[in-house]
Symmetry: C2
Subunit: 341 residues, 2 copies
């Protein structure tokens, strides 16, 4: 193997007239080196334009200083806020972020997790709790520090930093029920392999069940996230024999799609039908009527997750997750049911 041509620690040590050990210490913990020596070394480093070789460093220190995250998708802004905050904290801690996406496919997620670990991720941020046994085994066997987010389960053994999707679903459903809605439809994300989507729908069902008859769910549709998908699902739920007076959507993208479609069909929101979302995405403010939705404190979640993960990596085994709270955001898309409804 021919050398790279770039200056090495060795070169620096030669120029500075000290040992490689001293140079290494000077770079990693300057306090261990006498000021005068430090200055010499710095001069040599500048002169040579030296930067430490990543591989050598990783090999010798057994640390990469990078953490990985696998998100379902980057396509819509869904995870962007949290990810940005996560990244900021990490960067401040001198870590870099490895990013991969799974397309909501557990097998793909497992592949990405392995790839990230193979690429030296010291820790991992994962979305949701729901994953196959083999993935969990891998994480456990390799002892990969990881935190789960975008979800919360108080009694889990895993480290979870997020919010309770079920509670979010319940919150929005209760808001609709409180206004007198008794026939509601649900448009959710595909709940298979997706605990967040499943939790939100379960929460909505909880709220309905708590009221009991005559409150009822006229129709449930699961679909991929997308404006058009939300619109199509809206068409479906409105064609049910007894049309709902409120359509509860699993997220703002679906809800926004539903509102656009209602507009196309000449159905007035909220006069003819109420529509709600979850997430408090930008879209929720922009669509007319603006969406009543549940706000998720993305940035705080990302920041907290980063802190916990950094702790985990540093070897703090006492860390547990924490819950961030969601809150109802009232806008125009939700009102009481129409008089005849």
């Amino acid at each position: 193997m021919e050398p790279s041509g770039l200056p090495t620690l060795q070169d620096v040590s030669r120029v500075a007239g000290v040992s490689t050990a001293t140079v290494s210490r000077c770079i990693n913990d300057p306090s261990k080196v006498a000021r005068k020596t430090r200055e010499q070394i710095q001069k040599a480093i500048d002169e040579l334009g030296y930067t430490p070789n990543f591989g050598g460093r990783v090999l010798a220190s057994r640390r990469t200083n990078s953490v990985g995250v696998v998100i379902p998708t980057m396509d819509n802004a869904m995870f962007a806020g949290a990810l940005q905050a996560f990244q900021e904290v990490l960067t401040d801690a001198g870590k870099t972020l490895l990013v991969a996406s799974s397309g909501y496919d557990p097998a793909q997620e497992f592949r990405q997790i392995r790839a990230l670990v193979a690429n030296g991720a010291d820790g991992l941020l994962l979305i949701g709790t729901d994953r196959p046994q083999d993935t969990r085994d891998f994480l456990a066997r390799r002892r990969v520090p990881h935190v789960l987010t975008w979800c919360f389960e108080p009694d889990s053994t895993a480290c979870i930093v997020g919010f309770d999707n079920r509670k979010a679903g319940r919150l929005i459903a209760e808001a609709a029920l409180a206004l007198g809605h008794r026939n509601v439809a649900i448009i959710g994300g595909i709940s298979r392999n997706n605990d967040r989507a499943a939790g939100r729908m379960a929460g909505m069902r909880d709220a309905l069940a708590a009221i009991g008859p005559p409150a009822r769910i006229t129709r449930v549709v699961e679909t991929r996230y997308g404006l058009d998908q939300g619109g199509d699902a809206f068409d479906v739920v409105m064609q049910a024999n007894s049309a709902p007076t409120a359509v509860l959507c699993g997220n703002d993208v679906l809800a926004t799609g539903a509102i656009l479609r209602a507009r196309d069909r000449g159905i007035r929101v909220p006069q003819d039908v109420s529509i709600t979302g979850i997430d408090d995405h930008n879209l929720a403010r922009v669509v007319a009527p603006a969406l009543t939705t549940v706000r998720v404190p993305q940035r705080e979640m990302g920041r907290q997750a980063a802190r916990v993960l950094l702790g985990l990596i540093a070897g703090d085994r006492t860390l547990r997750g924490c819950e961030v709270e969601v809150s109802l955001v009232r806008r125009q898309s939700l009102a009481g049911p129409p008089p005849g409804g």
Copy 2:
């Protein structure tokens, strides 16, 4: 340094009864190893639960198989589509993605670039062309393969895969002028250190200049990207002595913010004033009236950028950039000027 406890290549070679070289070959290029041997080795690997050590691999092979990207922000969905596509191609090629964000700050970008390179990025994807000399020097001196995107300059020596922001600006401005607008205002992103924002505005000015008087720009406002910022800027441009009949915005987020504000103010779009965006963000479809804008083929751009970067990393020095084409998307927010306008 105590050993990690995880099985090593050496362990595998011992169990399989072959040399470490053979095991290494078996992992990196199975065709070089006899089938029978391969099977033995595979058995040993499975038995031990072996996975290659990242550091050793990087050190010995001088490749990390990861590429870095520095985007201005992850907060809004701006770059999400392109990034997702970029990542998909990379993953298919067995690379992982390192992500950092700069917050539109050149110094921060330089820091992130260095961090990514220090963390072993084999190549870099950067947004835009406009960066300080020291950043460019660093890239050149370290010979970091990199491609620039979200912009295009045919006569640049750098590798650029993107679209011509100036052309996009011209396109949308021409559309407005063709409808008879003669008094237009511009709301753009902050153009300092941001060639994309500057290019878009320059394109708009080009179009205006090409028509000549009485076509004129009543007001130009630069502001950060955000719905509220767009709204505030809208207020400003509408207060000018002679109010514009069309407000050209540098992107869809600003334009959407402007439309929302117009609605608040009781100003009808497009009857009283036309508003346009650039990007064809999801928001553009959702806001009412829907935005006339310029579509940017994000996914294709991301995909192409990944291809070029992979080529560059593989050592292909002949690669040049390529341009992807933008196109006008006509929706309702742009119409002719009001009769008196």
